[in-house]
Every structure is written in structure tokens, then in C-alpha cells.
Symmetry: C2
Amino acid sequence: MKEKSISKAVIKRLPKYYRYLGDLLEFAVERISSKELSEQMKVTSSQIRQDLNNFGGFGQQGYGYNVRYLHDEIGKILGLNKIHNMVIIGAGNLGQALANYISFERSGFRTVGLFDVNPVLQDVTVRGIPIRMLDELQEFIKENKVEIATLTLPKSKAKEVAKLLLEYGIRALWNFAHTDLNLFLPRDVVVENVHLSESLMQLSYNLNSYEEKHKIKK
Amino acid sequence: MKEKSISKAVIKRLPKYYRYLGDLLEFAVERISSKELSEQMKVTSSQIRQDLNNFGGFGQQGYGYNVRYLHDEIGKILGLNKIHNMVIIGAGNLGQALANYISFERSGFRTVGLFDVNPVLQDVTVRGIPIRMLDELQEFIKENKVEIATLTLPKSKAKEVAKLLLEYGIRALWNFAHTDLNLFLPRDVVVENVHLSESLMQLSYNLNSYEEKHKIKK
DNA sequence: TAGATTGTTAATCGATTAACAATC
DNA sequence: TAGATTGTTAATCGATTAACAATC
């Protein structure tokens, strides 16, 4: 069976469709055409139809798409119909902030554990979750059926902790450390990087180049 | 003057080059060829040379690139040679975590103010920065030459606060709210979105589809 | 000079958009 | 049935990769 793999660009757009469809649901919109949706999202209707048809035909000619149905189907594609247990490794500011972020729970991402190496943090609780030391990690992962590990720790420790997590059976890493973990990990591990400082630099670039353009015109 | 505008894909890679060159500097590496760098970064050397040549010729035939020079030049392109004052609007978990994140400061992004609408938070300090109420925002922006506003507030308030910020002269928004601000803002405002939950959904998709592939093979 | 490696043009690949037959 | 809109094929556009002449 030859499986056409879906491009990253498509996958990146799926959560956005999901969000817009969720908004429509809140306004009790029942159906929508790719054209209408494309106008709201400022994309082409062709793109919407192409993207969706990677996964199947969810619409109906002459009618469009049923909002609830499409929303839920995209949810399934994204795996949002299941609960995913997460641990956060690194209970500093960012780690604690993410642990407090209840909106992830609504999509089925449940933070069940918080870990750190700093003994001072031991048993401090964040939203009822006690901070544990790394030596408990292996057992905890097994007992709580943890699927995803969030890495909010210094670059210097990210690599070794990632290796540890793989040993313990984790197959998905949400990486906030300033390093490209994917480069040395086996291919069967999925990594999603969130490089905040790089995002900020892109913003800075755009601000800069806008200003320069502006100056030239003056 | 016809300015070829630089594609988003290129801009996204610049901070990554900057990071790798910074790492090389730490190891006191003086020069590097596009080939060597491409091997470390797992990209093609062609791409590196093409990307850089959007901004000028930073290398030398037969030699390669001087690491320090290239690093600093990319820094300038990204606007990292200047200090950028930021305010954070929304002093919840994420806002406070970002305010505490000193690594931004090292790249020249200085958080000078923290704002919220919740009076309970008034004058609470985070890393020495007092949380202020929104009515002080306009004056604060002017007096502190604030360039960038970070939005860590609920989706429901993001739009109106963004409009306010524009009135007050802000031209760059770093948006963490679950909404696409860019869609209704004037084009001279630069927005960089960080949609954490969408990132998590992409991770979930990849985890899912890996598992499915695996099951089929079994 | 000979060797190395850039800067840049040309070829390829993939993603987006347009068009339209199929069909509700 | 007529109108609307999908699913899908074909055309276009842009980004990546390959190739190589220029040059240090």
C-alpha cells in the first residue's frame, strides 16, 4: 500500500481549520462552503478543498460542508478525540505556566506530571500537581500512560533528558529548549519545536524591514 | 527601486543560522564552509548560500565564511544589534513566565512593562517589574519608547487591546492569543503569532499517524 | 598556480491556484 | 430540473536543489 504522506504545510493548517470551525459552531452555523470559509480565513477556497481531500471527501456538492461534522472529523485526524497524558520536564517559569494552562486540557492534552532536577522545587504543587524529581520519572510514565513529554529545560540538559525519555518509552516530544532535538533522535520519535526566541527574532526582522522601507519613502 | 521581498521561509531560517553560528563561536570556530554548516544543520549547502545571498555576499571563494562576521551580520539583519523595548499585556501565567524569561534580554528584547486588567494584580511585581493597569498604558508606551507588545490575554480581549495598542503607536505584536489578529489589522503592523495549542495539535497528529503506520505494518 | 568554495544561473521539485466535470 | 459547490485534474507559481563559472 503506497501511502501519500501529507505535507507539513497541510498539517500546519489543520488546527487552524479546526479553530475556525469551532468558532462557527459557537455561532451555531450549520453549514459552510469552502468559498465562505476561505473568505473568513483569507485563504483560497481551492486550498481548503485540496487540503481536506487529502483525508477524504467531507463535503457535499451543491451544499458545502456540515460544520459540526467537518469540525469533528478534523479533530479525529488531529487525534483530539483521545486523551493524551503529558509530563512537563523542567518546572521553571515556562514549565509552570504551561502546567497552569487549562486550555490544553480542553483539547484532550492532560498534564499529569511535573518534573525537575532542583530539589528545592520538590513537592511544590502547581494546579494541584506536585513537582517530582527525575528519579521517579520512569515509573511515573509507565503508571500514568504518558504519551507526550514537554521539555522546558535549559538547552544544556535537553539532549540527555530526551534520550532518557526515549528509553522510558516516550515517542512524542514538545520541545521548548533552544536546540534541534530532531537531528539526533531516531526517526520514529515525533518532535515539535517551539522556539520562542526565534519567533521574536522574526518579528524583529519584520519590524526592521518595515521601518527601512518606510524611511526610504520619506 | 524594485525591492525583491524576502520569502517567509528564508526569514524563518535566519534565526536558526544565527543560533548555529553562535554555537560555533562558543567552540571558537573561526571559519566554516556552507558545506560543513549544511551537514551540521541537516540542510543543503545550496540553501544556505541562496538564503545568505538574499542579503549580500558574506563569504569568500575558496575560504568559506568567517563565523564571527556572518553571525554578527545576520544579527544585524534580524535587528539584534538594537535594544527593543517590550510590554506584556496580560499578566497571567504565560505573561509572567515570559517576563521572567531572561534569555530574551540577551538578544536585546527588554521587557519594560507588564499590564493587566485585573486590579488584584496591581503592583504585584515580576522580576522587579510592577504589574500596571491598562489606563497607564498609553503614557507608558510613549515614555519608555516601547516598540513591541506581547499579547498573552484571552482571545476575547485580544482584538480590542490590539486596536488600542495601534492607537498608542505600537507597530509590532507578538500574539499568543488564539486568534488571527493579522486579518483585521492594517498592513503596516507586523504580527507574529505563537499558537501553542496548534503546535500541540500538530504534534498529536504526527504521533497519531506514526502509530497508525506502525499498526498497519504489524 | 592549484584547490577550494563562493555567488549565481539553470533545472527540478512541490505546493498553490485555477478550472471544470461530477453530482448533490 | 437548475443552481450550487464539491472533488479532482491541469496550469501556474515559487522554493529548493544542482551545476558551474567566477574568484579568492
